[in-house]
Symmetry: C2
């Protein structure tokens, strides 16, 4: 029987609550088909306060040997600034393992009421996850003086842009064969003009996929006005970040937004995490919605090659929400929702 | 009687259609209270094809003497890349006259059906308009090679950030006294951490205004999930650009989104323009919705000190939409909508 070795980083706040719920569901779904061997790492803001760093110096080295990483949520801004906690844990993992494709599905689960009048959409957002606007390059000059200048340098490499677009085209091929590349080339004449050029080059390799180009501002409007027209979206790190929160919103909220940080070359582990944050105000109260987390867990199983089990988990989630369980904030506890999904899995 | 000297730049596509409609309404609204003396400049993509530039070398100099600038729309991507047309006309004007505050109101006009279930929102977006992510700094190295790198440098100055925040706080003071500053300081640790710091400093000058901080991704979700919680939003050039298209979407579409590029120091003319683009496909067909353009014209009159006339135009727009005129794409022609607004003005 195949055994998968998982590194669990529950992280902060509700990250812990939803990681527990997810592992319970994944283990039940595995049945006697495969086993999950999980090692838990306490890396978090609490860990930072004790050790002065979000993870040990050899953290990345330690994670290397695992088949996949599952992360709950990172951040506890009351004690550690987000700029420290995220740059000390989440972002370095994405970069170290070349998890260059952040993929996030956006559709309404049955029984969930979204904020839009529109309902029938099924979008797959693919976000570049290692460079661009979140490269971490830049600086500050004359700090605190009246001539202070701060810069943030978006860095795009040909390799980085080519590979995310190719990944996007492959996904589009497996879906409805329509890809929209999102840029802002009318105002950012270096980075985004470059991205547009590369898109045209890569598109030539995929004549069976229809390509659209859209500016980020127009796309934000489109996702609200006509989301049903969209299939696969490919965007830079920042633009993808924004569009996937918007995607989460139109699917009813962050409680339903799953995500995968994929290393397509499989040179290192991929990482799976719900889009939501650590939500300090509701942490540990058994009220966080675990659906996004469990869905992310299903994406992990799919990535590991257990597509059938992943599909069963998705069906169980849908069976639960179709009965109105977990569909509205506060309607059910974390454990009630988990129990409903477990029950649907059994059935 | 006061005479205002206006520079009209109808620009491309439907920019021409809606500028005509706007001037007709503004002139009627002026009655015998003031006069509008308009000079029209043919600067556009057509002009570019003839002259090799979007406006003459002394274009900015020429505009200097006017009380205000009214712009229809710029861009005709089939013949001139947007990166050329926008950087040759719209963006240089915003920068040359230090029109650092781009303000855009987002609310539903009576009779307009938005895409959201939510209805009772009234948001004022204030976008920094001269620097940040659209500074135009950056470059490309190893063009076309496999080690090509493109950079886009977001540049924020203390002066630039302070003044837009102060402007925002003044607006918040005149409204519901709530300001939300939008950044992404958890991933952009130079520019956005700086912006957050400056926000805290300026907030201390406005103890009567409640301040919230929000990341751009969370704000995009918020505008869709709970727009009624928002009052004044202040954001960088790019973030404001995205949020105002989203704002246009939730108010029913770009046909309703007005905007002003304000030079608060009045060292040069301010510029008023609808948010929509030139829409080549429907240009010259008398089908563009002129409401955003006319609303922008009202904002121009308000800026010139004619608040009463501006309010009358707004009421006339609302009277027309309340009767269902211009509320749905294609329901009425440009001239029908204009006529309805003119009729409401008379009444
Ligand atoms: C927490 C933050 C750094 C992160 C990001 O922007 O990448 C989050 O918003 C996300 O979308 O995964
Ligand atoms: C056309 C483009 C350069 C412009 C901008 O991004 O500033 C437009 O989108 C706007 O919002 O005014």
């Amino acid at each position: 029987m195949t055994n998968y070795r998982l590194a669990l980083i529950p992280g902060d706040g509700i990250g812990v609550d939803v990681t527990d719920a997810t592992m319970e569901v994944l283990r039940a779904a595995a049945r006697n088909r495969f086993t999950l061997e999980a090692e838990t790492f306490p890396w978090s803001c609490e860990y930072y306060l004790e050790h002065g760093q979000m993870m040990p110096g050899d953290g990345i080295e330690t994670l290397k040997g695992f088949d996949a990483i599952y992360l709950g949520a990172v951040g506890w801004p009351a004690t550690v600034p987000d700029s420290v906690s995220l740059h000390g844990l989440l972002l370095p993992i994405r970069k170290a393992f070349t998890q260059y494709a952040n993929i996030r599905p956006h559709r309404l689960l049955p029984g969930v009421e979204g904020p839009l009048k529109a309902e029938g959409f099924d979008i797959l957002c693919i976000r570049e996850n290692t460079e661009g606007e979140y490269s971490g390059a830049g600086g500050r000059v004359h700090m605190g003086q009246d001539n202070e200048v701060a810069t943030e340098v978006a860095v795009f490499t040909r390799k980085g842009v080519e590979r995310i677009l190719r990944f996007g085209f492959e996904q589009a091929r497996a879906r409805r064969k329509h890809l929209t590349s999102v840029t802002k080339s009318n105002a950012q004449k270096y980075s985004m003009v470059f991205w547009d050029e590369v898109t045209k080059e890569i598109a030539a390799e995929y004549p069976d996929v229809t390509v659209s180009h859209m500016h980020i501002d127009a796309m934000a409007a489109k996702m609200v006005m006509a989301p049903q027209d969209l299939d696969v979206i490919v965007a830079s790190n920042l633009f993808g970040d924004i569009l996937t929160d918007l995607g989460a919103a139109i699917q009813g909220g962050l409680g339903f937004a799953a995500s995968a940080n994929i290393c397509p070359d499989r040179t290192g582990p991929s990482m799976f995490e719900p889009v939501h944050g650590s939500a300090p105000d509701i942490a540990g109260k058994d009220i966080a919605n675990p659906i996004a987390a469990i869905w992310s867990g299903a994406m992990m199983l799919e990535h590991l090659g257990e597509a059938e089990t992943a599909a069963e988990i998705l069906s169980a989630i849908e069976a639960a929400t179709a009965q109105g369980i977990g569909t509205r904030p506060g309607s059910h506890s974390t454990s009630d929702i988990t129990a409903a999904i477990l029950a649907a899995l059994e059935a």
